[in-house]
Subunit: 382 residues, 2 copies
């Protein structure tokens, strides 16, 4: 049992860098176009940058904040989230987290025991699988988002993978990686099924601000009792490096999450919280509107070039590249693409998808994205 | 097994706020003197504040950094840590973390499986117990730091608590909460014992810059193969709110830690890393020397007032208050103290110490600390 120099068994199945691992360099010698990672090329809005936060205005801003976040930020989040979801929300139902990643880890730590199972609506945001594994539990892929088209079929799929060890289900919308939205009737059916089976729902809404067609529906709106709603300032405001997000959910669950978070994370960065508060108070409104317009345009162009329907939300497309694969499979395709100067994320990071890749259309300036998409499109064409 | 609305069994024993919980308010109506939390009253050095970091100087500074930290920061850490420990250290043996708390959580996730045991040299930094519990493992208190006086006795104590489920041992020096240093001969004996029993060592050195008497010895210096060395910019540079620290250790263990960290935390705040780099590059040298002098003076004064030997390091004292307790026990004492205007941390947060309290002598400006210490001293006097 004592085991230096070995690592924990529970850590052995956990992947690190899920996005790359490619050693091939572009033949041109130029830096590759980074379509593989989800970020933005834009600097955050003025008023929301670190240089805008001074110790003169905010004495003690480099000291610890309260673990669940500054009270004024939690209150503002409760107000905004309450308006958006239509679910009246109070400070005690909100906790500020060190990004959505740290938030979800605290949720897993608080609500899932070792040996239990969490269903993942697939394809999914890759880190959730590693997070569940890190706590000794088992992620279970439920392929749905490229497979089924109705709420009924979605529930059937979920039920097919449920066991007596299942304690929670994770989904995200607007959807990373397909750019779809989970329609409200799906959320209603899936939530009802979860409620009936006493399952927690981890609803990852980090792309809520980036919807280009249709309307984002919040899981917390349709099922507030058993939903932990996961949010981020990273995607909304171009602050991914600030590591700040939040959770909203029932008081008792949020209390447990706060206790876990205290011990494995403590709190989000104090300055990042002040930046988030400025953004929520209006300093970034214009920035978001502008970003949304630009992202929508880039997403439509990329989809058209790749022969896909335009994304309804998020900042991703998930093309099926099966007809471009040869006997070397996806690795060969990714290698060729890297040599041609473009990085994309391999489908298997998102579930059982060894004939898909994910591309982000916002991580580099528009002209670079267009260049990368053209190269990708030329490789996908039969 | 499915359990909404219940929380995880592994989360049930995890404490949240370990430092307070007191509802009593000071009778004076003035804010209480916060001797309960470990922080500093000083703003960080100029050049190391968020306002000193601009997008003009650091384009993309609000975007994701690489998961293990900016390469230039890791290289600088490797250099500084290598010089301090005498162990040549390379970039791959260093990972930047979202504070020491997040770093230790990733270490536990990477090296400890559910059901295993971690020995904690007690009294200890409270969050390590919750972190071990959060991953489904068991923290085991080993009372030593107020109980034994020799390296031999220390090893005997550790051996007494070792079982076939023990996989690691945690200690911290300069010591939170007693202000002691673990002498080099203790570290050698304890490390040798750990190595013989194939145990990982989690050595928490976050107060390495605050030594007032004697010399800090690094566990990694005496046992580099099985030690993960835990560090923080919080304590050194008055940046606790920035949530940035680092780990150093053997490549294979650091690789596993990075993989866990990717999934439960992603990375430290990008701007916080830039601030840390400025500090390590000399911008905070004068600040640290000045802080050390001030802290040393405050520590000596507090110890004298409380009838204790002066702290050799850290920013804490851990007085035994048994002779001041009445039939209400420690809770009664803490309540009286709060009414008198002073908050301290209860001993039981640090292990089996229900007749001790911890006080920090750096969390408020010197005059306020002195006022708090006087009140505490008057309550402790028989």
């Amino acid at each position: 049992m004592p085991r230096f120099p070995r690592i924990a068994e529970s850590a052995q199945g956990v992947k690190g860098s899920v996005y790359s691992g490619l050693k091939k360099k572009p033949a041109s010698g130029k830096p590759p176009v980074p379509l593989h990672i989800g970020d933005t090329w834009m600097e955050p809005a003025e008023g929301c940058r670190m240089q805008d936060l001074t110790v003169e205005d905010h004495p003690g801003m480099h000291r610890y904040s309260p673990v669940p976040g500054y009270p004024q930020l939690r209150d503002r989040i409760a107000e905004v989230h309450g308006e958006r979801t239509g679910i009246e929300t109070e400070r005690g139902q909100v906790v500020v987290t060190g990004g959505a990643t740290a938030g979800l880890a605290a949720v897993v730590g608080a609500l899932v025991s070792p040996g239990e199972e969490v269903l993942l609506v697939a394809p999914y945001w890759p880190l959730i699988a590693g997070s569940v594994r890190a706590f000794g539990a088992t992620p279970v892929d439920v392929p749905m988002m490229t497979e089924v088209e109705t709420a009924e079929a979605a529930v059937e799929r979920l039920e097919q993978y449920r066991t007596d060890k299942t304690v929670a289900v994770y989904w995200n919308t607007p959807h990373n990686p397909t750019g779809r939205l989970l329609p409200r009737d799906w959320l209603e059916a899936m939530s009802q099924w979860a409620r009936k089976n006493d399952l927690w729902i981890f609803s990852d809404d980090v792309y809520e601000d980036y919807v280009y067609e249709g309307e984002h529906a919040y899981t917390r709106t349709v099922s507030p009792d058993n939903t932990i709603s996961v949010h981020s300032f990273s995607k909304a405001y171009g602050m991914a490096g600030n590591r700040c997000g939040y959770l909203a959910g029932p008081n008792e669950a949020i209390d447990a999450v706060k206790r876990i978070m205290t011990n494995i994370n403590y709190s989000a960065c104090s300055a990042s919280q002040l930046a988030a508060l400025n953004a929520l108070n209006g300093a970034a409104d214009e920035w978001v509107a502008n970003a949304r317009e630009k992202y929508a345009q880039l997403g439509r162009e990329a989809a058209e070039a790749l022969g896909l329907p335009g994304p309804k939300g998020s900042t991703f497309l998930f093309p099926d590249v099966s007809h471009a694969l040869d006997e070397r499979g996806l690795d060969g395709f990714l290698g060729d693409l890297a040599e041609a100067g473009v990085l994309v994320a391999p489908g298997p990071s998102f579930g059982p998808y060894n004939q898909h890749v994910r591309m982000c259309f916002t991580a580099a300036p528009p002209d670079e994205i267009r260049r990368g998409v053209d190269i990708l499109a030329s490789k996908i064409q039969r």
